[in-house]
Symmetry: C2
Subunit: 330 residues, 2 copies
């Protein structure tokens, strides 16, 4: 029987396995936006697509490639999960605007303009200075708007994010981050960004990655849920969803690669530190996908109505998918 509620997670990057796909099914998720690129160029990203195609074949009873909002409905009906591809960096388009459409055709539906550092398109949140969206960035946003590839500014700096919201003719997303008013991490977002997201019909996905949480691993579900309620006041309950940033079963070498790629000869610790370089432990109330419904319970407890809980847990993302993934035909 299909799961009664529609659950969508707008960001996961797990060490994928049959066990995890089973947990996703047990958790009742109908759609997940999965990261298929941090630093990969086009050819390397294509290899990751091939790996996913193998998984779609092996685990066809549990997962399939999601391309449209109707694939989410289909997944819900069939008790499977639609997997939507996304990039946390613009590296797959290299310096070639024509690759935007090619990436979309391969299944990509989200692309971050930056991953922590400066890119050809915009500035990342770990740079000292933020010059906003670049000349190429303006062109690429226009092309992303045209083909239906969503602009994601999760790891971008403030001015670049505000620029992207303004330049993009379609709503954008911050697929995985939390408000800075709750936990002032570099990756979390200012009230100004939250307001601009809400005013443009853009979406924020709340992250359960411990570095984005108040009190980290020890963050309580009550505190997390109350923060969501406060954010809904700022940007509207229709513009928020979940984007857990779950990185399950990944070895610490992966977070080191995420942070350092091939851009530095020194070692960068990003959100971590020399004494705490690896992946932090998940909070007790969200260890893996089987706990996804705990968030719904938390939201209910802080006063969200049933409709609002359903909106935040999946319906808002579904609405966003409906209007965002179709190309604009002139």
């Amino acid at each position: 029987m299909p799961h009664p509620s529609l659950f969508i997670d707008a960001l996961q990057y797990n060490n994928w396995s049959e066990e995890i796909f089973q947990q996703i099914q047990d958790g009742g998720l109908s759609a997940i936006h999965v990261t298929i690129c941090y630093h990969e160029d086009f050819d390397e990203m294509l290899q990751n697509v091939n790996d996913w195609n193998n998984r779609f074949e092996l685990y066809a009873d549990k997962i399939f490639l999601g391309r449209t909002a109707s694939d989410v409905r289909k997944a819900q009906k069939e008790g499977r999960t639609a997997i939507f591809f996304g990039f946390q960096n613009c590296s797959p388009i290299e310096d070639d605007i024509e690759l935007v459409e090619a990436c979309y055709e391969l299944g990509a539906r989200f692309m971050q303009l930056t991953y922590n550092n400066q890119s050809l398109l915009a500035t990342g949140c770990y740079e000292q200075n933020d010059s906003g969206v670049t000349r190429m960035g303006r062109q690429v946003i226009k092309e992303m708007n045209r083909v239906g590839l969503v602009v994601d500014m999760s790891h971008s700096a403030e001015r670049s994010t505000l620029d992207a919201i303004e330049i993009s003719e379609r709503p954008i997303v911050i697929s995985h981050a939390n408000p800075a008013f709750w936990h002032p991490a570099l990756r979390n977002k200012s009230n100004e960004v939250l307001k601009a997201l809400g005013e443009s019909g853009s979406m924020l996905g709340f992250s359960v990655y411990p570095h984005h949480l108040k009190d980290g691993t020890n963050c309580t579900l009550e505190s997390f849920s109350a923060m969501i309620a406060d954010t809904a006041e700022i940007m509207g309950v229709q513009n928020i969803g979940i984007g857990t940033d779950l990185c399950q079963n990944q070895p610490d070498s992966v977070v080191e690669w995420m942070r350092n790629g091939t851009w530095t000869n020194e070692r960068d610790f990003g959100e971590g530190s020399a004494g705490s370089a690896g992946f932090p432990d998940q909070p007790s109330w969200f260890r893996d996908n089987r706990d996804f419904s705990n968030i719904a319970l938390g939201l209910k407890d802080v006063g969200f109505s049933d409709d609002e809980v359903a909106a935040v847990m999946g319906n808002n993302w579904l609405n966003f998918f409906e209007s965002s993934f179709e190309p604009i035909v002139n």
Copy 2:
């Protein structure tokens, strides 16, 4: 018989042919820094190296690959020309700092951190905002300093240029540009940059590309030479040389490719305009390499001593090559 004066041109990008190599010999140039990359990635740049290796074989009586300052002396002695490779963009290192050393090994001796637009390393002079040298840029400058690949900021924005001069532990170059006080083009440089170049032992190569000249194609040799004298006052006669930016026999499609690469779906005219999109005509006193000695006559006429003329026409660049191309061994 070797040419009596040492002539070095710090920037040319011609449509190379036996005719042009003969003109270079007739003009008496012992060394030329040639551009082998505008937008190419590593593999594409490698193809350009292969093309040059074919030329070195075909025209061995006229040219050979220059790797060290002593190759300039050798060329002068043999009446040939040492060709030094350089990139006008950092695209050949892609997003991989390890490619810096590989580029050096292939013969590259200069690399611009940006070409007009934002790069992963710094901001180009056509961007609206300039955030300076990036996190990756700092790492790459350090690596360039180590291997002996010279930082060139000819097409970079002001703050990025000042950052690079400060961050680099070795002198840098602006291989081809003129002072903005003489002709306020976006590509020409402020007095602040000129002073910082002089104070750091860095070099400026004066350009004869019409868009960088006062009165463009109609610029007089007198005006050009007087500008050089004024610049010497600001940054020191030992820190200036010639970098003509000669783009001989190139079709207009090449300047369009330089400006647009693959970063935009619209057409960008760079220093040109819709009504004047192609390569402008050269001034009458510098049509090609056979006119190189005209610049020496112009310098003499505005009061430079023989030693100073020799310094500007080649000896300053030779001194710079001496101290810049050797790796730093720890």
